[in-house]
Symmetry: C2
Subunit: 202 residues, 2 copies
């Protein structure tokens, strides 16, 4: 059986919980308290030397890191990755967009707002991060103007990767009101069969 090392409030971890629910894939769930430094212990670093959750342990003991690489591994040969070469690359395009142009500006503000005091120097990062978060949401909104989902007109792991932090973006100070196509897509993802919310403990 798979074992998922994860933290409930993590959008990156939620990506894996959501895909496993959609695939009806069972797994053992181990919560790692990132707020108490539990990803920086020598025990955890032996699992993932980069010290991050989610980290997936396969049945043979192998560890796999990086949320979007885990999504790809689990979704191979499922309806959540297209079979066509260009569409597969487009799924990856949006997943790399998510990690480079979206996550640091949509997820990190949420983390700072939730976990750092009002007088923390990290609060000073917010204006610049939120401006880049709005730029990412604009790119998504324009793309979704003519498309129900990000790639191939159907629900794929590109949507799962982007949904994870987009649907909770307001918790970081990003108002979704200006992005009507994004809001419609958020509702569309949440209405899929077998959907589970971020807050549901496995």
């Amino acid at each position: 059986m798979l074992t998922l090392y994860d933290y409930l409030d993590s959008g990156n971890g939620y990506k894996i919980r959501l895909l496993c629910a959609l695939l009806n894939e069972p797994y053992r769930w181990v919560e790692v308290d990132i707020l108490k430094g539990a990803t920086r212990t020598s025990e955890f670093l032996a699992k993932n030397p980069n010290g991050r959750i989610p980290t997936l342990q396969l049945a043979d003991g192998t560890f796999l890191a990086e949320s979007n690489a885990i999504l790809w591994y689990l979704a191979e040969d499922s309806p959540f990755i297209p079979a066509e070469r260009l569409q597969r690359a487009q799924v990856l395009q949006w997943m790399f967009f998510e990690q480079y142009s979206h996550e640091p500006y949509v997820a990190t503000p949420r983390f700072i707002k939730k976990h750092f005091p009002a007088d923390s120097p990290r609060q000073a990062e917010l204006p610049q991060r939120l401006a880049q978060g709005r730029a990412a949401l604009e790119v998504m909104d324009a793309h979704l103007k003519n498309d129900a989902f990000f790639v191939a007109g159907r629900y794929t792991i590109a949507d799962i990767a982007l949904y994870a932090y987009t649907h909770v973006a307001p918790e970081g100070g990003l108002d979704l009101a200006p992005y009507r196509n994004v809001r419609a897509w958020v509702d569309r993802v949440a209405s899929q069969a077998r959907h589970v919310p971020l807050t549901r403990r496995p």
Copy 2:
């Protein structure tokens, strides 16, 4: 024929030039001057709404963005992506590591050092970025202790993605001297057949 929109000094663009050289894949090369804002024009944003190079145009006119997604597209069914499911996911694991935990801390300092004046407020970012760059190099060095390449014991696009900015890390202020396994791997990559340097204009 493929058309690559690119900037010569970009490590992300170089990834594609290097893979095309290894694959003996011909392409038209269009330089876009990122320092003069040429990726922010309406003409370029029509090609890539996220306004970044490299962007690849396929023979049918379709545009594909994100350097590591382009690598995956071009390398499919070549020796540079393994066939085995776990190894494919491990290639992606290292490519997501590169974009999230490496590029902002190894490539961005190089960009700041090269293109911003000594009194620019962006210089203040360097100490924190370089500390995270050293952390990324430590993760790589530990992995390479027992492996000649990042995945499957052979040269894949995971190596290409990580080589692009690692081999020029000293230009950003990251000394590679403490990372002997990284240095041996840099030499190993550069000694592969058909290798081309970052500075070679196509």
